[in-house]
Amino acid sequence: MDQIVSILVAGGREIFAPTTAAFALAAIGLNFHFGMTGLLNMGHAGFMLLGMYGYAITIREGGPMWLGLIVAVLAAVVFGALLGWPTLKLRGDYLAIVTIAASEFVRFLGRSQALKDLTGGSTGIRGNDFKKPFEALSPFPDRMVQVGPWNIHGSQSSSWWLIVVSWIVVGLFVLLFWRLSRSPWGRVLKGIREDEDAVRSLGKNVYAYKMQALILGGVVGALGGVLWAHANAVQPDSMGRPTTFWIWTLLLLGGAATIWGPVLGSILFWVALVTVRNLAGWLIPESMMTATEREPFSLVLVGVTLMCLVVFRPQGLLGNRRELVING
């Protein structure tokens, strides 16, 4: 019985954990790309990584928080512009390949020995170097605080303070997405998702709109990265290809092009992942599955989930089937 309760508690914690919020925010960014505009960005982790590097490096070098955020945003803007410049004129699958390549490139740069002084190499940047300014703002007590069954620190690292802030930020960007998707600007993007030539023939500069969507979504992803870093650390290998694919999975799970899809998807994804891992640990004997095997096991299920989603329910949980089925 106790085991069940602790598994439920652990799973329940994922509902509001900062990592969940960070991924929800990243997924909102991807929603601008894919949900609204049909852009195949397979390198979203790169935006997250650039965001966290931009912020953490600025803070480590002594800059204030607002400057850190500006640097994070600028890094995403530049990255998005560089990515989009050659590829937005090409077919969709080219953008997919280039975005993967570019974000792996960022990761390689980040973990390379040559840039170690700047990025911390493969160990990355420790929390102590950049989390302090944010933590200093916390009105919560500087100790462990118990709320219900969850005992979480008030202000440090993955704290109640971070939880409150990150979900407020998520809420703001959900609002932004809602506002923009119901606006004429959003309408143009949806048209582009359907048929670029038709939209061109109506006098709209398709390239400019795609670039705006790419950059805006990228900036939102970068901010997701900053949030994630505050709950963990800046570590290039945690922002690799698998991370991008998880964001895709949770976006499609919740429902691409919907307002709440990213949030719902992120919550479901993390609750399920953690719960499956814990259940596996509890129910499956060590001889059949060791502790280190639980993580890849749960991720196999993630991969299979993504496949099934795309084939059987591409509109996800919240999506409108008529609006989302992309059959040829």
């Binding site: 390949i97 490139f105 989930t305």
Partner: protein, 368 residues
């Protein structure tokens, strides 16, 4: 098909551009850390924990001529990469699918060979018993390749052709391949763990050929790769089935209209692609004196770069592209730190898309 002067010119142009880019890059980074670079390539599993291994493909101060040595290494690597890439290109050409799970086909061949041949105890997911199979390397490899080819058949039979029949869009199929890639990558990690796997414990005898040095396993791998690539080329050029395959890869609608049974060709392509990928994985595992669950995943970008460079859908383009990528990435280690080797390939990839998206052998698409 004759080796056209224009193609050679374009390939040379890419070399030159890549060399310039690599040099500019190294200037940017401040120093061309040479042989001082520690040859440590870290294997990472999903949780982000690093697993230290050594990278035997890094330019060891062997052989008397560094440039030739690296050129040889690049060529061998390029040949092995070609085995994996040709299939990727054919799949794209015949079905329009950018198959992200192709990387796992490569890993699977190598991992299965390890599973069958290693003298160390191995297990299966969920099964609580460990056992040793220990078949000699060659039969193990052959079985693994046959099974790989079989997985290609299975995939097309039960996943891809049903999806095509249901007229699922290529974009959606691509995302399915991403999910498959994620599932297979983790399945392999679950199966054999994150550590480095040796396919043979025999010591790799190094031979000195003039100014260069090469390992016996590397030489054999290259030889097998050349033989297979020649075989594939012969198939594609001289046999009716091969010509039909090229026709479908070039223009599926037209080929179908000419009476070619596209579905059968596609099935054949999947079998061939998966088998070649498996072979590539095994040979790469021999050449690099070790493999791992993510051997293919680490190659995915290089494969895409090679295939895009050569022209998506053109099998010979994949061959040319792989050689270029192999040589350029290895040679970049003359100027750049070794952990940025792959970065060079990425720069080439982006450059190709900028300048000539259809690749070396592709034809410009008609607009409107």
């Amino acid at each position: 098909m004759t080796l056209n002067r224009r193609i050679v010119q374009r390939a040379l142009l890419v070399f030159v551009l890549a060399a310039i880019a690599a040099m500019a890059f190294s200037v940017m980074l401040g120093d061309g850390a040479f042989a001082a670079q520690s040859a440590a390539l870290e294997l990472v599993d999903n949780t982000g924990d690093a697993v230290e291994t050594t990278d035997p493909a890094a330019p060891t101060p062997a052989g008397t001529n560094r440039v030739l040595q690296v050129l040889l290494q690049g060529t061998i690597f390029g040949l092995l990469l070609a085995l994996a890439s040709v299939g990727l290109s054919l799949i794209y050409g015949t079905t329009g699918l950018s198959n992200f799970a192709h990387a796992e086909q490569v890993s699977f061949g190598a991992v299965l060979t390890y599973f069958l041949t290693t003298k160390e105890p191995v297990g299966l997911p969920f099964v609580p018993v460990e056992f040793t199979i220990g078949i000699p390397l060659v039969p193990a490899a052959l079985i693994a390749i046959a099974v790989s080819a079989g997985t290609g058949w299975l995939q097309d039979r039960f996943l891809w052709s049903p999806l095509r029949r249901r007229r699922v869009a290529v974009v959606q199929q691509m995302i399915v391949s991403i999910g498959l890639s994620l599932a297979l990558l983790n399945l392999l990690q679950w199966w054999v763990g994150g550590r480095r796997l040796r396919l043979t414990t025999a010591i790799d005898q190094r031979w000195v050929l003039g100014p260069v040095q090469v390992g016996q396993q590397g030489l054999i791998s290259a030889g097998i790769a050349i033989a297979c690539l020649l075989g594939v080329s012969y198939f594609l050029l001289k046999t009716r089935l091969g010509r039909a395959t090229r026709a479908v890869s070039d223009n599926p609608a037209l080929a179908s209209a000419s009476g070619i049974k596209v579905a059968s060709i596609v099935r054949l392509v999947w079998i061939l692609a998966a088998g070649l990928a498996g072979l590539g994985g095994v040979l790469l595992g021999l050449y690099e004196q070790g493999t791992a669950f993510d051997a293919g995943a680490r190659l995915l970008l290089l494969m895409f770069a090679a295939v895009t460079l050569g022209g998506l859908g053109h099998p010979f383009g994949a061959l040319v592209g792989s050689l270029v990528i192999g040589i350029v990435t290895e040679m970049s280690s003359l100027w750049l730190p070794t952990d940025l080797k792959i970065a060079t390939a990425l720069v080439i990839l982006i450059g190709v898309l900028l300048v000539r998206p259809q690749g070396i052998l592709g034809r410009a698409e008609r607009v409107g």
